[in-house]
């Protein structure tokens, strides 16, 4: 069974996913940061593949992408860092990335490597669902890779049902019409949207991302969904960290409350 499904079968509330850019803050930090995230009690690790033009991300994550690229991170390097990581990491690991670097690497080769090292799923914000269905669905299935599509407050009910039908594992609920890291709090309108989707009886669990930064927002998101994804706030925390392990522990302890 895919680790993502297993997780949601055993844990239905307050699931916490942490996003970190691979090769950040230093090239060699990928695995140590993942270990620290797991040791501090997060349930899922979302590993970002750095890209020069990450248009779904805000300034914090874009900057971390630029730093990781300067550090020399690439898909090739990432896979070499991930060889054998499953001896240390048991939580689900999802790769988040933009299409162009993956296509240049080769989609099939990418999927194959994901399976070899032990990746469980993908989030590809610039992959249209129609293109996924036509070109990649069979491939992802062959290599046992889950895919989570995004929904936002603007997504129609019909479209949410399509996303529910075609996602595996969980649905990524974007909390507002926004890019990552844009807002520090959650508004009444957002709550209404969370409530609306919660009432739709979807097949898949939902994680809320974008704008989740601390214990209060994590708790609020968890009230309307199965948990949340934290990215920019985490990146900010580790950017200039002298004590990565300790700072990650402190951050996650605070968030989990």
């Amino acid at each position: 069974m895919n680790r993502i499904d297993y997780l949601f079968q055993t844990k239905k509330e307050r699931v916490l996913s942490i996003y970190v850019t691979a090769g950040f803050p230093e090239l060699g930090d990928t695995l140590p940061v993942m270990e620290a995230i797991q040791a501090s009690g997060a349930d899922i690790i979302e590993l970002g593949i750095p890209y020069s033009d990450p248009i779904a991300d805000g300034p914090t994550i874009q900057e971390s992408n630029a730093i990781a690229l300067e550090n020399g991170m690439s898909i090739k390097t990432l896979f070499s860092q991930l060889v054998g990581f499953r001896s240390k990491i048991h939580v689900p690991v999802i790769l988040m990335g933009y299409l162009n670097p993956i296509i240049q690497f080769g989609m099939e080769e990418f999927c194959k490597k994901c399976k070899e090292v032990g990746i469980d799923g993908l989030i590809l914000p610039d992959l249209p669902m129609s293109q996924y269905l036509e070109e990649y669905k069979a491939l992802f299935e062959e290599y046992g890779l889950f895919i989570s599509f995004l929904i936002s407050p603007q997504t129609s009910e019909k479209r949410i049902r399509e996303v529910d039908e075609n996602s595996n594992g969980f649905i990524y609920m974007v909390s507002s019409h926004a890019i990552t890291g844009a807002k520090a709090s959650i508004s009444k309108e957002q709550e209404t949207y969370f409530e609306r989707v919660a009432g739709m009886n979807l097949n898949h669990p939902r994680l809320i991302g974008f704008g989740i930064s601390d214990a209060a927002t994590f708790q609020l998101a968890s009230r309307y969904s199965n948990g949340a994804i934290i990215g920019s706030a985490f990146i900010k925390k580790i950017k200039d960290s002298k004590e990565l392990k300790q700072d990650i522990k402190n951050f996650l302890t605070e968030v989990r409350g």
Binding site: S52, D53, D126, H177, A178
Partner: protein
């Protein structure tokens, strides 16, 4: 991610644009506001200089000084009919930003323009024009701080408000339906060339059409009605910057490989790892690491000939046109003029160059270059 943004547009644009009420308003504005048709001017002294019969399609005489306004007029009427309240746009040289700010003022719509920080510095007059017209100009401070980064910022702003905002993309790039839609709005250029050439020369088709290509909107407009006329050579002049292989270039057809940028599958300047390479051109409007998917296709099938013009040569061509015809061209457009030196043609060939914009906005660059 862009699904809610493009879905509404994709489903509705063709029906709206085909409707009589749309067409009436569009044609009226092209005529009375933009000043169309623009002249097809026989450039006698330039013809003598190069030994061919050269016509200039005077898009520089459009209101706001370049062809960009053809598209912004088209899209603003569409945005209004879709019930949008706010307009955003990216701009490189500032011509598209000015053309967008202009139609927003005309329609009383809220307008925000994203522009690379570097371009803001080198295109100061256009920045102030946008502000005078009531637009907010937001600097893009990431990456090379030019057109690509401005496009990223505009995309982000659009993702943040898919309901109320319409994004007027200025070139034949971006997600479907933009490349086709923008080309359609610009196709008035070749539509007029055909008509005007028939009146002046007794034939609709020239032997060559030359246009500069950054993203490629003016070329798309100038080529549009000639795609299926194989006897007409289509020449696309790209920016070679300091030299194609200098590392400071924007010659996408030579340096690009297939990739995805801003929602288009196209030719893209990128590293082996698929990271987008920062382009360079002295002209802000050609400083883009991709080209429109249609141009990538024309390149692939060999329908268009691509030439790469260096900064220095483009500047010289700008001075040449100024002194032979009394027209100071935009530096983007000067690349198309210089293409005449880089291609072969016969003395009796009939050539149309799309004079996409005027050089007022580039005065600072001309002055700094100083070699005149």
């Amino acid at each position: 991610m862009l699904y809610p943004n493009v879905e509404e547009l994709r489903e509705n644009w063709e029906a709206i644009v085909a409707s009589p009420s749309y067409q009436e308003e569009f044609q009226q504005l092209l005529k009375d506001f933009v000043g169309r048709p623009t002249p097809l001017y026989f450039a006698g002294r330039l013809s003598e200089t190069f030994g061919a019969k050269i016509y200039l399609k005077r898009e520089d005489l459009c209101h706001t000084g370049a062809h960009k306004v053809n598209n912004t007029v088209g899209q603003i009427i569409l945005a209004k009919k879709l019930g949008k309240k706010r307009i955003i746009a990216e701009t490189g040289a500032g011509q598209h930003g000015v053309a967008t700010a202009t139609v927003c003022a005309l329609m009383g719509m809220d307008c925000t323009i994203y522009m690379g920080e570097l371009d803001i510095k080198r295109q100061r007059p256009n920045v102030e024009r946008m502000r005078i017209l009531g637009a907010k100009v937001v600097p893009a401070t990431s990456g090379s701080k030019t057109l690509k980064d401005a496009t990223n910022e505009a995309m982000r702003a659009w993702i943040a408000d898919p309901v109320g905002t319409h994004y007027i993309i200025g070139s034949v790039v971006g997600p479907h339906p933009y490349p086709e839609m923008v080309a359609r709005f610009q196709s008035v250029i070749s539509e007029e060339i055909k008509r005007q050439l028939l009146a002046k020369e007794g034939r609709e088709n020239p032997d060559l059409v030359i246009a500069c290509v950054g993203g490629g909107s003016n070329a798309a407009g100038a080529f549009y009605h000639y795609y299926n006329e194989p006897a007409v050579r289509l020449i696309a002049a790209e920016a070679a910057g300091l030299g194609i292989h200098s590392g400071k270039s924007a010659a996408t057809s030579v340096l690009g490989t297939p990739g995805i940028l801003h929602g288009s599958k196209t030719l893209l300047m990128q590293t082996e790892d698929g990271q987008v390479v920062e382009p360079h051109s002295i002209s802000a409007g050609l400083d883009y690491p991709g080209i429109g998917p249609v141009h990538a296709h024309l390149h692939d099938i060999g329908r268009a000939e691509f030439v790469a013009v260096e900064d220095e040569d483009a500047m010289k061509a700008g001075i040449l046109l100024s002194r032979t015809e009394g027209i100071i061209p935009a530096i983007e457009t000067a690349h198309a003029i210089h293409a005449l030196n880089q291609i072969s043609f016969n003395p009796n060939d009939l050539i149309v160059i799309n004079l996409s914009g005027r050089g007022d906005k580039d005065l600072e660059t001309y002055i700094q270059w100083g070699n005149y």
